[in-house]
Structure formats: C-alpha cells, structure tokens
C-alpha cells in the first residue's frame, strides 16, 4: 500500500465510497474462517485446560493435562516417532527429489523420465497405505521377492518398532519424491544462464558446479521445500492410520494420531486438546521460519 502513504483528498473520498462495498466483499471469507476455523481453535485451546468428556460442562483444571501429557512415556514415544518422520521425510523424499531433478536437468526426455515419480503424488494417504500394506504385510509382495533371492528370514516390517515407522516413511517417500523433483526442476530452470556458462568455461563440472553455483542459487527454493516438508510431516496422520493405526500397541503413533485417539477413542477431550495445542505450537514455530523465508525471498525478487 505504498501509494496510499500520502493520500489526496480525492483518493480518501474514493476509498470512503467503497468502504461498505469492500466490507461486503470480504465479509463471507472472514465470517466462514472465523466461525469454522478460529472459533474451534479458541475452543480447543480452552478445552486443553479443562477436564471434559463431552458430557456435562468442562471443568477448569489448569495445566494438569499438559503435566499428564509430558509425564506419559507413550506421549514421549509419539513425539520421538514424529521427529523420526520429520527427519526421515527430509532425508528421503526431499533428498531423492533433488537428485532426480539434477539428473533430469537439461536431459533429453527429462520430462518423460520424471513421470514415474509423479504418478504416486496425487494419491491419497490411504491409497498409498492400501498399496504398501499389501507389499509389506507378512508374506506380502516384498517378502516373496526377497524369498526368491533366498532371504527367508525377513523382519516383520509393520510390526517391529521403530522399523514400522521407517518403512512407512519409505512409503511416503515413494509418493513425495516426484513433487519435490518437480519443484527443484522449476528452481533449476530459473537459474540464469550467464553464471552457469561462466562456471562451465572455468571448468566447473559435477559436484563442484553443484556446490559453487547450483546449491547457492537453489537456496531460497530449498528453504520452501524443506519448510513444506517439515510442516507436512509434523502433521502425519493418514498413512499411519491406514497402515498400522499407530500399532502394534502404540509403537508407531505420531502426535496427530495420539491426539485423535485420546479424543475420539478414549473421549479424553481435555488431554486430546492439549496434544492438539502442543502440535500446533510446534507446527507454527516451523511455519514461521518457512514464512519468513518466503517473505524475504519475495522482497529480493
């Protein structure tokens, strides 16, 4: 709104003319978002300080839910699993995605070679879960393939912990590599030609070219991809719900799943809300870092 800093009388009057119509145009958005997103948000925050199971009235108990939450070894287990998800999804889908983007960069037929990685992207989490449960089940497709090579003593992929979380991360990686490759490809294509040509003339190839030219130039985009990946992985729910339901026992639960179970299975509304608040605080912290990067890169451009 830089042009509004020294408003002329005319401009001020014009703005006044449209004051009510501007309010009318923004009202539906504000109303829907306020009633369906912000009001529930506030209510969840309130409930996290109460004892409530849906019947009667919520009873204020201060920080008790939070104390109970951090005392619970199961909760800490689900925090650890969630961290494993954050780390794993950065390492595998983002890493391989960058690899695929670099390999297809300036390559004839690159579009077609990228296609196999893109097919799984638009699958729902449950779609991925259906396929991978079939592959990883006991004596499933993977065990049969390994058996053909004489490996009979395979681990119980979805039962042993933390292996079950690791194989689910691989399933999500299978889905996520394509879109990361696509984003990095767009980044690579937007790198100006001149410094690249200059570096190539200086004899920079392979790893050197990557480290001195490509990587610094991809930095802003990498920050976006990493931010998206962290925020998404903190909220991991669908794939785990579809493949192990957090089990066996509670060994593969993520924070999002623990919240769902405490709330809708155990009817511990207060405790479930406290977990939701915790998840939100962590996600917000990650999102703020991501947004800051977005805004600052926009100023540069």
């Amino acid at each position: 709104m830089t042009s509004d800093k020294t408003p002329t009388v005319k401009a001020a009057r014009r703005r006044d003319t449209y004051r009510w119509s501007a309010r009318g145009f923004i009202a539906p958005s504000v109303l829907l978002v306020a009633v369906l997103l912000y009001l529930p948000l506030l209510w969840t925050t309130f409930l996290s300080f109460t004892d409530y199971n849906g019947l009667g009235d919520p009873e204020w108990i201060g920080l008790e839910n939070y104390a109970e939450m951090f005392d619970d070894p199961q909760f800490m287990g689900s925090v650890l699993n969630t961290l494993l998800w954050v780390g794993g999804t950065l390492l595998i889908p983002v890493g391989i995605g960058l690899g695929v983007a670099l390999l297809t960069w300036n390559l004839k037929g690159g579009i077609w070679l990228r296609l196999p990685f893109l097919i799984p992207y638009a699958l729902s989490g449950i779609g991925v879960a259906v396929i991978w449960s079939f592959i990883l089940g006991s004596d499933g497709a993977l065990d049969q393939a390994l058996g053909a090579f004489g490996i009979a003593d395979t681990p119980r992929w979805l039962v042993d912990s933390p292996l079950n979380t690791v194989v689910m991360i691989i399933a999500i990686a299978w889905q996520g590599v394509g879109v990361n490759a696509l984003l990095f490809t767009i980044g690579l294509q937007s790198i100006p030609k001149e410094p690249l040509e200059a570096a190539k003339l200086d004899g920079a190839t392979g790893l050197r070219l990557f480290r001195s030219i490509l990587w610094p130039m991809l930095r802003p985009l990498t920050a976006v991809v990493v931010g998206l990946s962290i925020v998404a992985s903190l909220k991991t729910f669908d794939i785990v719900q579809g493949m192990t339901k957090g089990g066996p026992g509670r060994s593969s639960e993520t924070l999002a799943l623990t919240m769902y179970k405490e709330t809708f299975v155990n009817s511990e509304y207060g405790l479930g809300s406290a977990i939701a608040v915790f998840l939100t605080v962590v996600t917000l912290a990650a999102a703020i870092l991501y947004l800051r990067q977005q805004l600052s890169s926009k100023h540069e451009g």
Partner: protein, 269 residues
C-alpha cells in the same frame, strides 16, 4: 556425469518406482476366488471391472463416490469465488487495514486440522450438522478459503488499478466490476485453485472420519480406510480395486495439470 549414465540411472530408478503401481494393477485384477497372497508378482487373470463393481458395493464406496464428487465440486467453487471476493476487496476496493484482514484469513490454514476437529464435532452434533452433506460442504468450503484468498490477492495485485478506475468511469457498480471484469481476467488462477482444492477434498481422511459416519455422507477416502480395515485380509483384490478406483481421478487430473500443482505448492500450501 554423462548423459548415458544419467538416463540409465533414471530409467532403473523409475522402474523401481513403478513396481508398486504394477503390483496394484495386477493384484486388483485378480479374481477373488482364485486369489492367493502367495503369488503377488505374477498376473493371473483380468477381473478388474468386476472387482471394482464389488468394491463399490462393499463399505458403501459407491454411495461415497457420489457425495465426494459433490463435495469436491461445490466446496472449491464457493471457496474460489468467496476468496476472490476477499482479494477484490483488499486490492481493488482498497479495504482499510486490508493487509491485516488478509493475514487473518490466510492464518486460517497455518495450524493443523487437529486443532479444530473436536469443537467442530461437538458443535456439529448440537446443531444437527453431524453426518450431513451440508455440514461437509460447509467445512470443506471454509478450509479452502484461506488458500484461495491468498492466491487471488496475489493475482489481483498484478492487475493495474487503472483497470478498476476505467470501469468506474464507465459507470459500473463494484459487483459488476467484480463479476464482469476481475473474475474473467482471473480464470486461470481460479481454475488452478479449484483443481488444488478439489484434490485436497477428494483425498481428505480426517474431516470425514470425525464429522460423518453413514455411507451416503462419508467421503470416499474415509470409506476406503474403513473397507481396508474390515476386508483387508479376506478380500484383498477387492480392496486393491477400491484403492485404484479412489486414486484414479486425482492421479489423472494431476498428471494433466502438473504445472498448476507445482505453482500452487510454491505459492505456499
């Protein structure tokens, strides 16, 4: 690295990536009677269509297809228009404190859905919106608005304000300027948002899980999840066929509109 090596690596890796798709296709095609989980890698027969038919009858998947189609069309349509109106108010009509309103609306997508599902469930039960199509449409619309307003505000910023002033000189009302000038100019952005949000809604599990329960209201992915946990052992071919059926629309849509997706993701969803 030479081109040959790069191409070879990509082909090998690409084939590995297609293996799960191959397994899905051949096993979803096997007749349930002769289905054995011992020979997952070898195609036997082709009963894909009868399996899909069976899947439609199991767990109410057929009824879900119809409702989900309604959700995935109606909600993004409303959200796109409502979000565009917000962008129009902020950019063209220069709403006072426009940026603050924008941040307020956009902030609605920043937190996890976990933060709102319990009060929504509670409130929906009280006002009889629980397990209704209307209730699902309302929540999907609200949740699609922030992203829509975000993109539309950015898009309208790119349109010179003289366009608006010229329309005013022609004597057009703000409503007319919005519907006849701004919306038509934004059609590509509107379509992009629509596709992204429709895909998001089609693939939703959590809201379906908490706000619906009957077959004809439950969205399709939630039905598939129910079907998998109920019949995953006994009728594997049918469940896989169901998975294929649920996945096909979004995968096809995505492959045709990759660039929209990438742009949308880069924009910050």
């Amino acid at each position: 690295m030479s081109r040959v090596i790069r191409t070879t690596v990509l082909i090998v890796l690409g084939l590995v990536w297609l293996l799960p798709v191959y397994l899905l296709l051949i096993n979803a095609s096997k007749a349930p009677e002769g289905f054995t989980s011992k020979e997952s890698w070898i195609p036997t027969d082709f009963s894909l269509f009868s399996n899909i038919g069976d899947a439609m009858r199991l767990s109410g998947l057929g009824e879900s297809v119809l409702s989900t189609l309604v959700y995935a069309v109606v909600s993004p349509t409303i959200a796109v228009l409502v979000g565009a109106a917000a962008g129009f108010a902020i950019v063209a009509l220069r709403l006072r404190h426009g940026f603050a309103w924008f941040v307020l609306i956009f902030g609605g997508t920043v937190f996890p859905i976990q933060m709102i599902i319990l009060p929504l469930f509670d409130a929906y039960s009280r006002v009889s919106l629980f397990d209704t199509r209307l209730g699902m449409i309302i929540v999907y619309t609200a949740i699609s608005i922030p992203f829509s307003a975000f993109v539309m505000r950015n898009f309208f910023t790119g349109i010179g304000h003289n366009v608006f002033e010229a329309a005013v000189l022609d004597g057009a009302s703000t409503w007319r300027i919005f519907t006849r000038v701004y919306l038509p100019m934004a059609s590509s952005a509107l379509v992009a948002i629509f596709i992204l949000q429709a895909t998001f809604i089609w693939n939703d599990l959590l809201l379906g899980l908490t706000l619906s329960q009957s077959d004809d209201v439950r969205p399709i992915v939630t039905s598939l999840a129910g079907m998998q946990s109920t019949y995953g052992g006994a009728q594997m071919a049918t469940v896989l066929a169901g998975g294929l059926l649920v996945s096909l629309p979004t995968v096809v849509l995505f492959l045709f509109t990759q660039k929209f997706f990438a742009r949308g993701l880069a924009l910050g969803q």
